[in-house]
Symmetry: C2
Subunit: 255 residues, 2 copies
Amino acid sequence: RARVIAVLNQKGGTGKTTTSVNLAAGVAEKGFDVLLIDMDAQGNVGASLGVKGEHTLASVLVEGRNPMDVAVPVRGHLDVITADESLAAAEVWLARQDDAIAPHVLASRMTAAMVQRSYQYIVIDCGPSLNLLNRNALTYADEVIIPVTCDYLALVGVRQVLRTIREIDKHVGHAVRIAGVVPTFFDPRTRLARESIATLQGHFKERCLEPIRINTRLAEAPTHRKTIFEHAPESHGAEDYHRLVDWLVTHQAAE
Amino acid sequence: RARVIAVLNQKGGTGKTTTSVNLAAGVAEKGFDVLLIDMDAQGNVGASLGVKGEHTLASVLVEGRNPMDVAVPVRGHLDVITADESLAAAEVWLARQDDAIAPHVLASRMTAAMVQRSYQYIVIDCGPSLNLLNRNALTYADEVIIPVTCDYLALVGVRQVLRTIREIDKHVGHAVRIAGVVPTFFDPRTRLARESIATLQGHFKERCLEPIRINTRLAEAPTHRKTIFEHAPESHGAEDYHRLVDWLVTHQAAE
Ligand SMILES: Nc1ncnc2c1ncn2[C@@H]1O[C@H](COP(=O)(O)OP(=O)(O)OP(=O)(O)O)[C@@H](O)[C@H]1O
Ligand SMILES: Nc1ncnc2c1ncn2[C@@H]1O[C@H](COP(=O)(O)OP(=O)(O)OP(=O)(O)O)[C@@H](O)[C@H]1O
Ligand SMILES: [Mg+2]
Ligand SMILES: [Mg+2]
């Protein structure tokens, strides 16, 4: 039965897509079967890997199309469900559903298609928002990884993510577990970054993971439609995401 | 009659809030009356300036509260309408309105309260999304400033912004003008950044403005609830945003 992991932070540009893509790819390289779901109308997952699905996530949510037919193999052991602007219309559609149904649509579509039996890891790249799509991701997921930049507005953002998670817990009755907080764009030379990491570590303790250092190779990789491991295997970016992959596969979701 | 300027990019973390706050503050320092509207449920404008409105933008949109009562003076010549998570509920409320009405709510509330007569500049900080709130911003605004980071996914994002603007034009009949594209987080040492700026300049010509350089002072300023001009007046960040302010007040919105 798959571990379902949402990569979430409603603050923009915190490395969610970069983390989703490279984490999913790294886990798949170890031989696990991974499904990567793009839950952001920007469609950056497909753009980063050079893949465009014939059908996208919106058709799964709104039309009930089988997610197993929508998923596209992109690497050995890695399939992707892409997204595009039709997901913005899906958000409006969700808002017009009954309040009791609206947060559960993703979970019910995926469960009906028994997707959890076909993969060992399901990674969901969330968009920067507090919207219904992300509530769907949190309702479906068992665990959350929160990428956070090392600055002040990022810390403001983390508090909101925690509040959203607790609120979903109240309404849905099942608590998604915060597996880890990943500091991103870490520049050890700036004091603000070091102070921000210290704040995160004080608050999250062992769940504050090793930071991903700022590394231009990570920004370059999508220009070649490559993962960091393909584009620059010796880079700090590859090293840091390898470490994150190792952490994920060795730390099972414990309550 | 006020110039209404939306600061928009659905890509996250491109410096929208940093640009909105410092542009609005810089224009106000020159003596113009400025209203800064936070259109993002994250409420980063208020967090950056240390202000929390007794009422927020959601009450203007949903309850029809007078925006002139909601606006809070934060500096001489600078008033702010703050936002908080209630704006996420406002998005759902907008989605449940008639399709013909939903994009026009902000414009009708502001026009009814004759806000354009009280200020010379109205700056709208948009959240990272293709949502109905941003469609409201684009319907109300006369001009758009698009902050863009200097990397590949940013360029993917710019195309989407342009498509959204053209689509709003078709539906609403009035074209919001792209006043400028502002490259942000510019690090002249990295080739990817230089190549990205060249691409932007090739596409936008004179509307591709001078870049805002990456500068930790800009990330520090909100920790002190200060604008860049107050926090570090001699920094590159202050210099670059002074230049952007000068460009804005000297380049009138021409068709
Ligand atoms: N550690 C890093 N060092 C340098 N560049 C990075 C790093 N992580 C990500 N980037 C680049 O920074 C940009 C923003 O990252 P990314 O798109 O992953 O953030 P995001 O949180 O998914 O953004 P959004 O909120 O728009 O979904 C991308 O161009 C990405 O390639
Ligand atoms: N030129 C810069 N150099 C260094 N740091 C910057 C710069 N511009 C902005 N920052 C910092 O980077 C972070 C992201 O910037 P900002 O919040 O303005 O982006 P945004 O586009 O508004 O994000 P969102 O999509 O979440 O609304 C903030 O902590 C900000 O202080
Ligand atoms: Mg993303
Ligand atoms: Mg912002």
